[in-house]
């Protein structure tokens, strides 16, 4: 939420106005009290340049202070003749004053950059700077024994066969395969190279130990190792189980 002053004004706008008014006063002091109006043009230009540069730098710094995400001016001003650009999420709900404050601060920031490095600023401003979308995922941590009582029988069988997918271990998805251990976390068949085989073999294996449970059609599975991979994987699976029992 945007910070506001005691008077309900957007903080960034208030700061910009305060600094602008201060430097306008500085300019008047220079022109009328220091009598630079009658001074040589060079001296007057130096003074006015000082006011402009210091004012721009201070406002630019304060806009960075505010920590507001940088917004492309094009996103704030829909141009005629084409569909309005999608407003970024961070700009939603902005009042007109806060938009004006951001426009002013963005303008002064760009001005400062151009003064500092004209070549770099031309390329830097070309790229869009708005943050268009933020993707947030929430992953809970659950265990088989806790979840299983609440599932239907179908999904309970699925868990018996394939297990529950856990963090960073596709190998766990296929239950307790007695194959050689992968390199990752010691989980069976957890290595990147063997993950496709493990998943496909698990699908091909189905639930052979459960009477009445239909076997999946292994021939419909896509194979990374060419035709017949699923059958070979199924044979390896049975051999592995036998080896585990011994």
């Amino acid at each position: 939420m945007a910070r506001r002053t005691d008077h309900g004004l957007h903080a960034q706008l208030a700061t910009t106005i305060v600094v602008l008014v201060a430097f306008i006063k500085v300019r008047f002091i220079g022109l009328y009290f220091m009598e630079l109006r009658e001074a040589p043009v060079a001296l007057r230009l130096v003074f006015e340049g000082y006011c402009a540069v210091v004012c721009a730098v201070v406002i630019s710094c304060t806009s960075l202070v505010a920590g507001s995400p940088r917004i492309d001016l094009k996103l704030l001003q829909p141009s005629a003749g084409r569909a309005p650009a999608p407003a970024p999420d961070c700009g939603k709900g902005l009042t007109s004053t806060s938009r004006l404050a951001r426009i002013i601060s963005e303008f002064t920031l760009r001005l400062g950059r151009r003064l500092a490095d004209p070549a770099a600023s031309s390329t830097a401003t070309a790229a869009p700077t708005a943050l268009a979308r933020i993707d947030v995922d929430t992953h809970n941590l659950v265990f088989d024994a806790q979840v299983k009582p609440y599932l239907t029988k179908r999904w309970q069988r699925y868990m018996d066969d394939f297990g529950l997918r856990q963090q960073a271990a596709y190998g766990l998805a296929v239950g307790q395969h007695p194959w050689r251990r992968g390199l990752m976390l010691g989980v069976p068949r957890a290595s990147l190279r063997s993950r496709p085989r493990v998943l496909l073999s698990a699908a091909a294996r189905g639930a052979p130990d459960r009477p009445g449970h239909p076997q999946p059609d292994a021939t419909n599975l896509l194979s990374h190792d060419g035709p017949g991979f699923a059958e070979r994987a199924h044979r390896r699976d049975r051999a592995g189980r036998k080896r585990l029992r011994t």
Binding site: F33, E35, C61
Partner: protein, 206 residues
């Protein structure tokens, strides 16, 4: 150097006033402006440093800023602007040979400067009594440093005002003295100018 400066409007033989000189002139002398602009540049760097570190610790600076009394700053701004108005009035009075007005306005400007210093001392003592010292945090460190350097300039400016007061009581001024009056006045205005920015940065900026 001994050339006396006549600032009264010169009259032509026919009695009509001479057309004003359209040539632009540097108030004071160029060397004074090198010093003034250099000083302003140093302060500009200090302003930038302050705003930069404010960006590093916005919450700390915001909370600390609320410990300041804006009324102190506002009164000081009013005092310095009044003193600047008095000084420019004095310079114009000297030009116009209004010898009574110039010393009086310089005295008023000096009193305003004294008021600024008294106000500043009161503010500093109030802050210190509440435990806000330069070592408390970065905000108060910059506050005391910036206002301290500015107060140092103000004290120098008050010394300049004393000299202006002495010159303003003379009936004629040499060219060097007149240049000193203009340059000294510009220095005093610079002190005022810097305070206007300091007030905005230290007391008002959110």
């Amino acid at each position: 150097m001994s050339t006396a400066l006549s600032t009264a409007p010169e009259k032509l033989n026919g009695g009509s006033e001479r057309a004003p000189d359209k040539r632009r002139h540097v108030p004071g002398e160029p060397g004074v402006w090198v010093f003034i602009l250099g000083d302003m540049t140093v302060f500009a760097v200090l302003f930038g440093v302050f705003v930069y570190y404010r960006g590093k610790q916005p919450h700390l600076f915001g909370v600390s800023q609320k410990e300041l009394h804006r009324s102190f700053g506002a009164i000081n701004t009013l005092l310095l602007l009044t003193s600047s108005l008095c000084v420019i009035t004095a310079v114009r009075a000297i030009r116009a040979q209004m010898r009574n007005l110039a010393p009086a306005t310089i005295v008023v400007a000096f009193i305003c400067g004294c008021g600024f210093l008294v106000n500043k001392v009161l503010e500093w003592s109030d802050l210190v009594s509440h435990g806000h010292k330069p070592v408390t945090n970065n905000f108060f460190m910059y506050f005391f440093v910036l206002t301290g350097i500015h107060a140092f300039h103000l004290i120098i400016g008050m010394g300049v005002l004393v000299t202006l007061f002495v010159f303003s009581r003379r009936k004629t001024l040499s060219k060097w003295q007149y240049t000193f009056v203009e340059g000294g006045a510009c220095f005093w205005h610079m002190v005022d100018l810097l305070w206007v920015v300091l007030f905005a940065l230290l007391y008002l900026m959110h």
